[in-house]
């Protein structure tokens, strides 16, 4: 609250879209925290700090802003500090230094320092959590587990039952309401965990490796269900994962952590195409880029294409001539003087009419779809923005470059 008033108005507006913000957050476990601070500032590693002070460095100098309605994935190997900073959002872990702001009732509250009553209010209404090992209470039925948060909040029974039934239907467990948690499979138990987290209608959902304990098929299914649900409910989700495929599939933004520090935060494409350091590069080396990369990440921009008298020349000898109108829209094409056909492709399936000479596709065409198009027709692909203006070219060379992960 106090931090809000000191912020200039334009900054406050930016913040209104912020759900969670970490500002210079250090998390240290141990007694001699004060001695560890100067070492953290000097950039000392976790081992050095442990040897010198006996403190375990959980996270150092974490700065991260998560927008409302966004899915942010905290990524890293075990021990990299991803769960540690996740748990600072509802103060299951104490922050040694820095601030963790959470958007609560229209203001940003510093969870790291707020008083107990406010913390409880935030935990009851704004931030809920899904645990890796589900954290279900074994002596309670599924229904009673889902209603747990509401019960703590003191919601009247009738209202609680209504909400619980609604959430159970949402995760498809209505028929299981009166079973005990252990009578369900792992995937179902985690759906109970999800329903419990949804039940309090919190805006921010913390998910601590929620699908890691499940087998791959179930995991994939639950990821799809989560994305599907997210379409409808638009929560802010902070998701911890050690699985890069999962991170790339789920996350709008991804923060990669190592040794308690964030080494790179950005979109999936950023991380794939422009890894910040050798660690990240090593991490993403074996990733399948097809589902992540889109045309705009690999294309040769329109400004870099060869031009001749207002038209754009493609092909090695410039035998393909694309005429652009005043708005920048491609209007016609001629091949060696013969009039060609300009055909729009379906962006999802990559299907295109057979008699095309040049393909037009939206800018965010997936690389996978682009390859399918090339394979089918062998024609160059022109990428256009939402207004139909030419943005760039995606041809063999661009696709190969993208696959080899050499940023353009």
């Amino acid at each position: 609250m106090t931090a809000h008033s000191t912020v200039p108005p334009e900054a406050a507006q930016v913040r209104a879209a912020t759900a969670v913000e970490f500002r210079n957050v250090d998390i240290v476990f141990g007694h001699q925290r004060a001695r560890a601070f100067p070492m953290i500032d000097a950039g000392a590693s976790r081992d050095t700090i442990l040897a010198a002070t006996g403190c375990v460095l959980g996270a150092a100098n974490v700065n991260l802003t998560i927008g409302r309605g966004e899915i942010c994935v905290l990524m890293g190997l075990s021990g990299s500090g991803k769960s540690t900073i996740l748990r600072a959002v509802n103060r299951l872990n104490t922050v040694a230094r820095g601030e963790v702001f959470v958007h609560h009732d229209g203001t940003l509250i510093d969870v790291a320092r707020c008083e107990a009553r406010m913390l409880r209010d935030i935990r009851m209404r704004t931030v809920s959590m899904v645990f890796q090992q589900f954290g279900l209470l074994p002596w309670r039925t599924v229904r009673e587990n889902v209603g747990f948060g509401l019960e703590l909040r003191g919601t009247p029974t009738a209202e609680r039952n209504r909400l619980v039934d609604e959430k159970l239907a949402m995760v498809g467990l209505s028929q299981w309401a009166d079973k005990y948690a252990h009578e369900l499979s792992g995937g179902m138990q985690q759906r109970v965990g999800l329903a419990r987290a949804f039940a309090t209608d919190a805006d921010i959902l913390l998910m601590d490796e929620p699908f890691s304990a499940l087998d791959p098929l179930i995991r994939d299914k639950l990821q799809d269900e989560l994305l599907d649900l997210q379409q409808r409910i638009q929560k802010t989700i902070v998701f911890v994962s050690h699985d890069l495929d999962e991170a790339l599939k789920i996350g709008n933004t991804i923060a990669i952590m190592e040794g308690g520090r964030i080494v790179q935060a950005g979109t999936a494409e950023d991380i794939l195409l422009r890894p910040a350091d050798a660690y990240v590069a090593e991490f993403v080396k074996h990733m399948n880029p097809l589902n992540v990369l889109r045309g705009n990440a690999v294309m040769t921009p329109a400004s870099a294409l060869r031009r001749d008298d207002g038209a754009i020349l493609l092909g090695r000898d410039g035998q393909v001539r694309v005429v652009i109108d005043g708005e920048g829209r491609p209007v016609s094409v001629s091949l060696n003087g013969r009039e060609g056909r300009l055909v729009a492709a379906d962006p999802d399936s990559g299907a295109v009419a057979p008699a095309a000479d040049l393909i037009v596709a939206p800018l965010d065409l997936k690389l996978k779809a682009a390859i399918a198009l090339k394979c089918q027709t062998d024609h160059p692909i022109l990428l256009v923005d939402k207004l139909g203006r030419l943005a760039g070219l995606c041809d063999d060379e661009e696709i190969y470059r993208g696959l080899l992960r050499r940023g353009s």
């Binding site: 299951l92 935990r123 954290g135 209470l137 074994p138 909040r153 005990y180 252990h182």
Partner: protein
């Protein structure tokens, strides 16, 4: 050297005696009050149980056991066992012993469960009380029987106090064990949804620890039962009395019959207090 050591005896016993004397002269009213309350409690329970016709009470016990455990075998066993006790002529004594055991267990739970919870939440407290608990269980019963006798007078109350001292460590230990073995994941789940300390205790910790606490209470009952003979020495009524009398008169048959009645009571209480199958199955799987 050795002579010097022997000559300069530390008056350990004298000190304790001084404490007991001090208490009995200055705080006698307090002990009288405690004595009156506890005596009244046991007396009324005994009267109540004896007011019911024995055969009706036996039938009620068997039916109650059936309702809780859904086991015909157990009900039949309890019926037979209690009828045998009545047949031997120890019904009144059994009831007196039962009310002593129940009162002792009640007091133990009243003190032991809160202490166990407090100790589980504060490791230093458990470190502090552990030697006391060890002492309570190892020190020979007769040793503290003497001061309790001085403070509370003859009768059932010093018997109850001695029984409580002996049986109290069991519920404390098992409550501590139960509460401190609650998985941190469950505690965190409670915290993450905004549970207060009280909600955490009543909605997460106690339900999780309940089977262990119940085991502690069952153990407490058994330990109390093992004290009936000792309690009889200071004047408690019950099954201990015929045993003591049989010992003094070398009466083999009376000693055997009374001992048999104690064993039967112990088995019946143990079977009844065992957790119902449903709960057992649930916690095993979980």
């Amino acid at each position: 050297m050795y002579d010097w050591l022997v000559d300069h005896k530390i008056p350990l016993g004298q000190w304790l005696k001084a404490v007991v004397d001090f208490l009995s002269t200055h705080a006698q009213a307090v002990f009288d009050l405690i004595s009156a309350v506890l005596g009244w409690m046991i007396g009324s329970l005994t009267d109540l149980l004896l007011f019911v016709p024995p055969l009706l009470l036996i039938a009620l016990c068997a039916m109650g056991a059936y309702l809780v455990h859904r086991s015909i075998g157990l009900a039949v066993f309890i019926l037979g066992a209690l009828l045998l006790v009545a047949n031997l002529g120890y019904w009144d004594a059994t009831i007196e012993t039962l009310s002593l055991v129940l009162c002792a267990t009640f007091v133990c739970v009243l003190i032991g469960v809160p202490v166990g919870i407090a100790a589980a939440h504060r490791p230093w407290l458990y470190t502090a009380i552990r030697p006391v608990l060890d002492l309570m269980q190892t020190i020979p019963t007769f040793v503290y029987l003497i001061p309790t006798l001085v403070l509370f007078g003859l009768g059932v109350v010093p018997g109850l106090i001695s029984t409580v001292i002996f049986a109290l460590p069991a519920p404390i230990r098992l409550t501590h064990l139960g509460i401190s073995s609650v998985p941190s994941a469950l505690v965190e789940a409670g915290e993450a949804f905004g549970a207060t300390r009280r909600q955490l205790l009543f909605k997460v910790e106690l339900p999780y620890a309940l089977p262990t606490i119940m085991a502690g209470i069952t153990q407490c009952i058994m330990l109390s039962l093992s004290m009936v003979v000792i309690a009889a020495l200071v004047g408690s009524d019950g099954l201990g009395k015929p045993v003591v009398r049989a010992l003094n008169t070398v009466n083999v048959s009376m000693g055997f019959e009374a001992g048999m009645a104690i064993v039967i009571l112990a088995i019946v209480l143990d079977r009844v207090c065992k957790r119902p199958d449903r709960a057992a199955r649930r916690s095993r799987k979980a």
